[in-house]
């Protein structure tokens, strides 16, 4: 009992999260609300982590829930549900063999809807190299080796063959691991040049992505990417924070190179208070084959 008390005193608890509501104004009216909370209880030897999300339609769900043991200075072992995001791309991550599907028009998952994969993971840290080994659902295995080589992030990833992936939510639909019938390998790179330019690339046997981002001295940040799956897509994102007005403006354009169909998503976020933000998102679908369609949403989010 005494020991348990000491262990708890030595632990650090962090709780944070957000809750909000979003209303779609056009073309039809609908409303959604959600609350997400992240909890971390950690000591020098262990960590418990949970991400809970309650949604008006899906109810309460644990997006993440895992225990991590720092076995040695060079070894961590994690068991439970973990959101893994591999890759260096902004809109797509073809090397993300273990992780939730990504929406290129909402890559930051504004409503914290990502859900993890059940796994046992061992992280080995040896001479500035990280090796992560995964035992996944359906008898599948995965591995990732990461090292910073002369300023360049280099990750080599692999996932074993096995039973078909359980669902798109378990294995990224852009991962090349959709069938799950053959093993897949890939490489992801990222490097910063000078003050403002970052270039990145990812490649697997069948998919590739190349892109970068540039930050101008007036804080405008531009992301540009080309992604080759069965089709080729291009993404551009322009982001600018207006610090005095407490406004962030973002424009994302996602284009299919073959048919020129495009999704344009413009959003404005205004910080009303240090912990309350309001946003307006306008999404336009433009294409030769499909008629122009428009979707407009407003939302309010409280952070704690």
């Amino acid at each position: 009992m005494v020991n348990a008390t000491i262990v708890l005193i030595a632990a650090t608890l962090r709780v944070f999260g957000s809750g909000g509501g979003e209303s779609q104004l056009m073309p039809t009216q609908s409303h959604v609300a959600d609350v997400s909370a992240f909890g971390n209880l950690s000591s020098e030897r262990w960590k418990l982590h949970v991400k809970l999300r309650a949604d008006a339609t899906t109810g309460l769900d644990a997006g993440e829930a895992y225990a991590q043991l720092h076995v040695a200075k060079w070894l961590d072992v994690t068991a439970g549900r973990v959101i893994e995001k591999w890759g260096t791309g902004y809109g797509w991550n073809p090397t993300s063999f273990v992780g939730p599907a990504k929406d290129p028009t909402d890559p930051n998952d504004r409503r914290s809807a990502y859900r993890g994969v059940d796994m046992i993971r061992a992280d080995v840290f040896v001479r500035d190299t990280n090796v992560s080994l995964y035992a996944l659902e359906n008898g599948q295995y995965a591995a990732r080796v990461y090292r910073l080589i002369r300023g360049t992030d280099v990750s080599i990833v692999w996932r074993s063959s096995g039973a078909a992936a359980a669902s798109a939510a378990d294995f990224s639909r852009d991962s090349g691991a959709r069938s799950g019938r053959r093993s897949t390998a890939g490489i992801a790179l990222a490097r910063v040049f000078g003050n403002a330019l970052e270039l990145h690339a990812e490649a697997t046997q069948h998919r590739a992505l190349a892109g970068g981002q540039y930050t101008f001295t007036n804080d405008i940040n531009v992301v540009f990417e080309l992604y080759r799956d069965q089709k080729t897509y291009a993404l551009a994102r322009i982001y600018r924070p207006f610090v005095n007005a407490k406004i962030d403006a973002e424009l994302i354009a996602l284009t299919s190179i073959r048919d020129r169909s495009t999704i344009l998503r413009a959003s404005i976020t205004r910080k009303l208070r240090p912990n309350i933000s309001a946003y307006l998102i306008d999404t336009e679908f433009v294409g030769r084959e499909k008629p122009v369609a428009r979707l407009t949403s407003v939302g309010l989010r409280y952070y704690f």
Binding site: R14, F16, S18, F38, S42, E44, K47, K51, Q68, H70, K73, W74, D76, I83, E84, K85, W86, T88, Y90, N93, G99, P107, N108, D109, R110, S112, Y114, D123, F125, D128, N130, S132, Y146, L148, G151, D153, A190, R191, V192, F193, G194, N195, A196, L197, E198, H200, Q213, T215, T217, D219, N221, V243, N244, K246, K271, P274, N275, S277, Y303, F304
Partner: protein
């Protein structure tokens, strides 16, 4: 017997050699002096080998001000992790800096993203301003001169990819406390000026507690950084890896 008259050319050659030797020696001495002065001055910013410190950042632009809070974990002078603790919208974010390489981790994205030094943390302070706790690791002190009660050190970036190619640093000649630093980009333009305003004793060491950063490109904009609760902390090496961000 003819009196020995020195060959003026030979004599001039000897003098030139002596002058060159003296100059070389002086230059070397200057560089060594400058390096040791810089090392002593850096101790006011990074006195502990492995530490944690709270940083409060307030950005001013005319009548507007905005405050953010961070906890910085450091090891040596080239590795640091910045944990965002306030406001609530920023909680759960982490920034890793290994020399001049940076990654940011956001709990929503669940993936550390490589970022460039120019991407700002807040206000006039770049990521590097908060995360970097020493000049020695990134800059070579090329020379030292005197300016009143201060040494003026000319620092040059060891790596050309660093945000600022050169820094001119004023250091108190008696206490070795840093007073002011001017940051220049590769074009030679003076971009930013830091004033080391206050010093205090934390964890038994005299350290800088308040830094003010002026944006010289956008006059009127400034950011203050207040340091508190500096303490020794055993930060394991694996904390300072991209893959560990947000996982400890």
């Amino acid at each position: 017997m003819r009196a020995h008259t020195p060959d003026p050319l030979h004599s001039k050659g000897i003098n030139m050699k002596r002058l060159l030797l003296i100059l070389l020696f002086t230059t070397t001495l200057r560089a060594e002096d400058a390096a040791s002065i810089l090392a002593r001055s850096d101790e006011f910013r990074n006195p502990l080998g492995s530490f944690a410190v709270d940083v409060e950042l307030t950005s001013y632009d005319g009548a507007h001000s905005d405050t953010s809070k961070f906890r910085v974990y450091g090891k040596g002078s080239d590795r640091s992790v910045v944990e965002f603790t306030a406001p609530a919208t920023e909680k759960g974010k982490f920034l890793l800096m290994l020399r001049d390489a940076m990654w940011i981790y956001m709990p929503s994205a669940s993936r550390p993203i490589r970022i460039s030094p120019l991407q700002r943390l807040m206000g006039q302070a770049s990521n590097g301003d908060v995360a970097r706790t020493s000049f020695t690791i990134d800059y070579s002190a090329k020379s030292a001169s005197e300016d009143g009660d201060a040494w003026v050190l000319e620092l040059e970036a060891k790596d050309p990819s660093l945000s600022y190619k050169s820094v001119r640093l004023w250091i108190d000649r008696t206490s070795y406390e840093p007073q002011r630093a001017d940051f220049y980009v590769a074009s030679g333009k003076l971009l930013k000026r830091a004033h080391y305003r206050k010093f205090t004793t934390m964890s038994g060491r005299r350290v800088v507690s308040d830094i003010e950063i002026e944006d010289l490109v956008r006059p009127g904009r400034r950011t203050t950084m207040h340091y508190a609760n500096l303490g020794e902390r055993t930060n394991p090496d694996k904390m300072f890896t991209k893959d560990s961000l947000g996982k400890w």
